[in-house]
Amino acid sequence: MLEAKSLTKRYGDVLALDGLDLKVKEGEVFCLLGANGAGKTTTIHLFLHFVEPTGGQAFVDGREVAKNPLEARRLIAYIPEQVNFYSSMTGTENLGYFSALAGFDYAPGDLSAFLRDAGLQDEAHGRPVGTYSKGMRQKVGIALALSKRARALMLDEPTSGLDPKASNEFSLLLRKLGDQGIAVLMATHDLFRAKESGHRVGIMREGKMNTVLDTEKLGHSELEKIYLDHMAN
């Protein structure tokens, strides 16, 4: 579903992403691990065509992103680290508006159903988003992924600032989305959550993908050790 071929991004003298090769299958949750500046967010931005690649190609469902950026974005749902909506509008209204931007026109009842599926309690649907916690806003983001029938989900540090309970709920939700066939690419610092949520993790450093690991074959402490080794070398 998601594929990067020698994907490269340079900002002046700084090489932010260095020839990334990556494939994320349908239903797979892939976590990008790495320190700040490792190239995780740049990778996501290149898949969304928020920035032009310096070299290589990114593909979403076989479509080259640089050639069809709008088409690629319609297939992707994106939840940034600071997920924000229009604060004066309700959860339902925000979902309706952003779904409409993606080309979908839903009745209020359908929108509420998506919010419910994403785990947002009914009483919150009609409240202004300005009163929501980050976890609640993320659920609206997930509802948006469901409503636009996204084939891929991109998450940038989704669990930072979430309490353990909300973080756990979020992991379960990602797995559920994976089970529905959505490819998930998540950038995170959170090793524990990457192990819990992801099928595979990729450790990045200075714009390069150093290693890719299968989470089922690793324990938490092993993953931590490998990660620290990569950061140290």
């Binding site: 969304l48 928020f50 709008l70 994106y78 997920v83 924000n84 004066s88 779904s99 931007l101 993606a102």
Partner: protein, 471 residues
């Protein structure tokens, strides 16, 4: 219109409706505009009544001046009052500066009297608080405060990333926002605009109401272009700047340049390039020229030759009348030349103002607004011309009476008298103003320039949206 544009525009409108600050700004704008329209209407109504009363009083005084020499009656003179234009409620144009009352008397083409600007304070020189001024200067500020964060604020809050990640193009987003703000602004201006229409129609002469409506239609178009331009510029700048605070500062700078500095510069430039003489200087020059001994009077020999007579007593008309008529004819040539030069200077100044419209859309809007409201220089010049034509005909009638009836003698016949019948035979001055065709003829260059500004603003917005950066 694509559904997506309607969706984006509706969200912008709804967002403004829910924004407390926007509501306060909207109400302030609405109250200011309505108050200025009300004040303008009251002023125009009072002015119209005062001018009518003054005209009737002046006419009565002329008719009741008693028995006297017709040339004394010519010196007694009459006033000509420019009728208040119905759309002066909306835009008073140049009238406060040039006046609307002129005293018509023998030997002299007088300058206009009682200019309201003479009594104005320093602050009034910034601009009259008319509906036109509010739409020209205050509305752009309102647009800036309402929409400066449209892109830069959404960029800062990351909502922009979320919006663009839905697969909507930045250009569509910009067009939708532009339409949303334009619709909101037009809705806000509907009430004051309706009030201005009602006041103008109330003040308009019954036969001119269709003309007033047509003018209002053109004015609506001109102001809609101007508002649409500002929205495009604000969105364009907001799309280019990364921080809302910087966006606001940049836009306030643009507003200051376009709405304050360029108009001030235009005044200074037009005065420097095409200076107007001081009123006293202008009047002195005319007096000196008309009173030159060689040009004062037709001499006796010429008059006799002209009529083929040997003595004054043989002349078929009175020598006093001949001298009066020749004196007027000589003066008229000087007035024609001098006033033509003066209006030429004023028209060059107006053209320079239009040239400075290359630096600010406010300049062509002001010129178009005055022309369409019937308060511009062309109407003033026409009124001055027609008042002067009336003065000449008026004096000529009185002089003709002297020519026909005064004694055939070389000495001025001070004993000859005219009376109420003669005064009553003098027609009163009436001024039929131009129709909308003339106004459009005067305004088309400004309207074309305003359209070009709108196109440039939209191009800038589209171009900025294309280069939209999410971070």
């Amino acid at each position: 219109m694509p559904v997506i544009l309607r969706v984006i525009a509706a969200r912008e409108g709804e967002s403004l409706r829910r924004d407390g600050r926007a509501r306060v700004l909207g109400w302030v704008f609405l109250i200011l505009t309505l108050a200025s329209a009300f004040a303008g209407g009251r002023y125009a109504l009072r002015l119209g009544q005062e001018r009518s009363a003054a005209w009737a009083d002046n006419r009565r005084q002329f008719l009741e001046q008693g028995i006297k020499n017709p040339h004394s009656a010519a010196h007694y003179g009459v006033y000509a009052f420019k009728p208040a234009q119905a759309l002066a409620v909306f835009d008073r144009g140049i009238e406060p500066w040039v006046g609307a009352t002129v005293w018509l008397e023998a030997h002299k083409q007088n300058d206009f009297k009682y200019r309201p600007a003479m009594d104005a304070g320093v602050m009034q020189r910034f601009g009259e608080l008319s509906p036109a001024f509010i739409l020209q200067v205050i509305a752009p500020l309102l647009i800036i405060f309402l929409s400066y964060a449209s892109f830069s604020g959404e960029r800062e809050s990351r909502v922009l990333k979320l919006a663009l990640s839905q697969g909507v193009s930045p250009e569509i987003l910009a067009w939708g926002k532009w339409m949303g703000f334009l619709r909101a602004l037009l809705v806000w201006t509907i009430l004051p605009w309706t009030a201005a229409i009602a006041a103008s129609l109330f003040l308009a002469e019954p036969g001119t109401r269709m003309d007033v409506l047509l003018r209002l239609g053109w004015l609506s178009l001109a102001y809609a272009f101007y508002i649409a331009f500002w929205i495009a510029v604000v969105l364009g700048v907001s799309a280019r700047m990364t921080k809302p605070r910087n966006t606001l500062l940049a836009l306030l700078g643009i507003w200051l340049a376009a709405c304050v500095l360029v108009p001030r510069f235009a005044v200074a430039l037009s005065k420097a390039v095409s200076p107007t003489p001081l009123a006293a200087e202008f009047s002195d020059q005319i007096s000196k020229e008309t009173q030159r001994p060689d040009s004062m009077k037709l001499d006796k020999a010429n008059a006799l030759r002209l009529y083929g007579a040997k003595t004054i007593e043989e002349l078929p008309v009175s020598f006093s009348g001949i001298r009066l008529i020749e004196g007027e004819r000589h003066g008229d040539q000087i007035f024609d030349r001098r006033f033509s030069e003066l209006f030429g200077i004023l028209e060059r100044q107006r053209d320079l103002h239009l040239v400075t419209g290359l630096a600010s859309p406010l300049q062509p809007l002001r010129l178009a607004s005055m022309a369409l409201a019937g308060t511009d220089l062309s109407v003033h010049r026409d009124f001055a011309f027609k008042a002067e034509q009336y003065r000449r005909a008026f004096i000529r009638r009185l002089n003709d009476d002297v020519l026909r009836n005064a004694k055939r003698q070389e000495k001025w016949d001070s004993d000859y008298r005219g009376g109420p019948d003669l005064w009553a035979s003098m027609p009163a001055f009436e001024y039929p103003s131009f129709g909308v065709d003339h106004a459009i003829g005067q305004a088309w260059r400004s309207l074309a320039m305003l359209s070009a500004w709108l196109m440039a603003g939209l191009w800038f917005m589209r171009n900025s949206a294309r280069r939209l950066n999410v971070d």
